[in-house]
């Protein structure tokens, strides 16, 4: 079976001194199974062709044979570092299409879980960025913080990574009594540890020298290539789905959208670190305002959605995750299209990778943070 992209190799017309090299699916610095065919001139990259599809599981075809309720665990496995956000995105898409209103307490619990997962995803991003450049310590610190957050999740829903916690109409289990005190202890600890991570990486002269000016993405390029999330905000476009196309109860909280102008890898890192601070702000406000009440609306066990179609989107840690659902009046969707943020973000990499050293290319891939299960679905 030809996995070697024979057409690209034939068309490549290597000049003297150039050669083709494979940054293969099994590599310590690609984040998972992601492959790049590089045309190199010595140590400099002349052109890069990404090859995806190594984790294509056919989730959209699976969706056509499952109930709306049965599809929820599959959304966990789309972007495995932010399962709660994926669950939330899918639940909001179906609730908007079916016209279901959910109780207040469920809304607040959803926001708390989504922001906690955003913090864990961002701090792990800093860890992976560190190890791709050769620093071991940020990775272990990132996993230590993630374990603290997972303890909170395990207390509530029992799982460590793929939670399947939210339901269409609310959430599945109520918060236990010890959750809010544990969260109150966790917030000052997280503030301290974010500063520590920033001292390790963001203020480190080696890190700044290796990421400043690498892979500059201009504003027009980011918009034309459909980028979203931190890739778009680092190029100067102030857009966040939580503020500009608001969903759930995010309009009740005060928080800011960090934006920078340059568009290089250092700016992308900077935005993620600032967003941790903003998520902590949202958590503090949500903890004060959370009311008592039901956690689940009155939704029939076998939910049928009236005929219609709609696209609805939310802000994931990596960008804009959207679900376009076409319903034919039964209890299974006719077509479900998942708009994954990494699919559009990774398309930008060949454009900005020209002329970089191969070590800089690794830093660029780490900054873009494209996860293969999301790219391939």
């Amino acid at each position: 079976m030809a996995v070697g992209l024979d057409s690209i190799i034939e068309k490549s017309e290597l000049k003297e001194g150039e050669y083709l090299i494979n940054l293969g699916p099994q590599h310590p610095s690609t984040h998972g199974v992601f492959r790049m065919l590089l045309k190199m001139d010595g140590e400099f990259v002349v052109s890069a062709t990404p090859v995806i599809g190594y984790l294509h599981r056919g989730i959209e075809k699976i969706a056509e044979n499952r109930n709306y309720r049965q599809f929820m665990p599959y959304t966990d496995r789309l972007d495995y570092l932010s399962s709660m956000n994926n669950n939330l995105s899918y639940a909001i898409a179906v609730e908007r299409l079916a016209g279901i209103k959910i109780p207040e307490r469920a809304e607040y619990i959803r926001v708390i879980m989504a922001e906690l997962n955003r913090i864990s995803s961002h701090i792990l991003y800093c860890g992976f960025f560190g190890i791709d450049l050769g620093a071991w310590t940020p990775l272990l610190f990132g996993f230590r913080e993630r374990e603290r957050i997972i303890d909170l999740f395990e207390m509530t829903c029992g799982a460590r990574q793929t939670y399947n916690y939210m339901r269409i109409g609310g959430v599945s289990k109520d918060l236990p009594d010890e959750f809010i005190p544990a969260l109150k202890e966790f917030i000052p600890y997280m503030k301290k540890k974010t500063t520590e991570m920033d001292n390790l990486l963001g203020k480190n002269p080696i890190f700044i020298a290796r990421t400043k000016g690498i892979g500059k993405v201009s504003k027009e390029l980011a918009i034309k290539y459909g980028a979203s999330g931190h890739v778009l905000r680092s190029s100067g476009v102030k857009f966040d789905v939580r503020k500009d196309d608001t969903y759930s109860i995010y309009d009740r909280f005060e928080f800011e959208i960090p934006t920078t102008e340059n568009g290089d890898s250092l700016d992308k890192y900077r935005i993620r670190i600032e967003e941790i601070g903003q998520s902590i702000r949202i958590l503090e406000q949500a903890m004060k305002q959370i009311p008592d009440g039901d956690i689940m609306a009155d939704v029939p066990y076998n939910l049928t959605v009236p005929k219609g179609e709609m696209y609805s989107r939310t802000e994931n840690p990596r960008g804009e995750l959207g679900f376009y659902i076409v319903s034919d009046g039964t209890d299974k969707p006719y077509r479900m299209k998942i708009r994954a943020p990494s699919f559009s973000n990774v398309h930008l990499v060949p454009e900005v990778a020209k002329g970089l050293l191969i070590a800089d290319l690794v830093a660029l891939l780490a900054a873009f943070d494209a996860l293969p299960p999301e790219t391939d679905r």
Binding site: V3, Y54, L55, R57, I62, L139, Q161, T162
Partner: protein, 182 residues
């Protein structure tokens, strides 16, 4: 080829000869014990994580569930230097080709742990998926199966301990990589 067959034949005949010599069996046991003790306490996995289970594998290497105390501290990036592949994640036809190649490039003795439901049997993607291979043992031979979606890091450590018990029972000259192909 002739020389290799001669050396193999010698290795396979030594345990049979030692049995007949007085106190030969304890010597054979002792040699096997020392040989296996060295190998089971330094199983070095390959750095390859495919999907969600890879994060639990990385958590097993981090500080809370330290895998270094079992000797597997060094995760090698090159298959030529690794002893163990932990297949962590869904395998489809495209990556299955690469997995076959990786397994063939590893030097013997080599082991495989199938981690997570997707590697054991296809997992939640068994039904209605056109591209998922239903179990990685359709491509490469597996030594230890570990269930879970994803399994906890403690479960991965338990699988590693099961593999170590399997290594303890091996005997020189009678392993599957000493088979003569005729």
């Amino acid at each position: 080829m002739e020389e290799r067959n001669f050396k193999m034949a010698l290795l396979e005949r030594v345990p049979a000869i030692l049995e007949k010599v007085p106190c030969g069996k304890p010597i054979d046991d002792m040699v096997n014990m020392v040989y296996n003790w060295g190998r089971r306490n330094s199983v070095w996995p390959l750095l390859c994580g495919f999907a969600c289970c890879a994060i639990e594998m990385m958590s097993a290497c981090a500080s809370r569930f330290d895998i270094a105390r079992f000797g597997s501290e060094a995760f090698r990036a090159s298959p030529r230097q690794a002893d163990l592949i932990i297949v962590s994640g869904t395998v489809n036809f495209k990556i299955g080709e690469c997995l076959k190649r990786l397994y063939a490039q590893m030097a013997e003795p080599k082991y495989v742990i199938a981690m997570g439901s997707c590697a054991v049997s296809g997992g939640p993607f068994y039904y209605d998926s056109y591209s998922v291979v239903k179990g990685v043992d359709k491509i490469i031979p597996v030594d230890v199966y570990l269930a879970g979606c994803p399994p906890r890091p403690d479960a991965l450590l338990h699988a590693l301990m099961t593999l170590q018990k399997k290594i303890d029972k091996e005997r020189i000259g009678k392993n599957r990589w000493n088979k003569r192909y005729e």
